[in-house]
Symmetry: C2
Subunit: 92 residues, 2 copies
């Protein structure tokens, strides 16, 4: 009985990845520094590099859609600055 | 003629995304802080959150395989600390 309960608990976990990137027209000084460093190291055919953030989020939820809505709320409230950043949520 | 040349130049561009994550057993204090904040904001069914880095890289290259090898070299030499981090390269 308890074992079954624990199995159910484990089944509830859903995992998502969130990728946050700067909007196209926003300058990315950190990416620029990385780019210059790579070019100085001899990577001459590097054209462009931009840096962003990546989150792996696990939630206790059965329903993928509800979970996705929760993640979306987290992004909007804390993880993403919607003025200068875009985000994408993927189920893993 | 010149237009054709420019078109070819444009065709040479390949775009990759690189996701860098902390290895499973490495502590992620930044992720922990985000997790605590989200729980304090009322997201009670959040189970775990880990933060990583994300790069979008464009290279001047025709051959996907050669380009991928270049990106791999960039990761090993600069972008990733192989002792504590894992990385994944994806073609966009």
């Amino acid at each position: 009985m308890e074992k079954q309960f624990r199995l159910n608990l484990k089944k509830n976990k859903l995992k998502f990845s969130v990728t946050v990137t700067l909007k196209k027209d926003v300058l990315d000084p950190q990416g620029k520094v990385v780019q210059n460093t790579l070019v100085n190291m001899g990577m001459s055919n590097l054209k462009n590099i931009r840096q962003g953030k990546h989150f792996e989020i696990e939630v206790d939820e059965n329903d993928t859609e509800v979970a996705q809505k929760k993640i979306d709320e987290m992004c909007k409230k804390l993880l993403v600055n919607l003025i200068i950043e875009d985000y994408k949520i993927n189920k893993i």
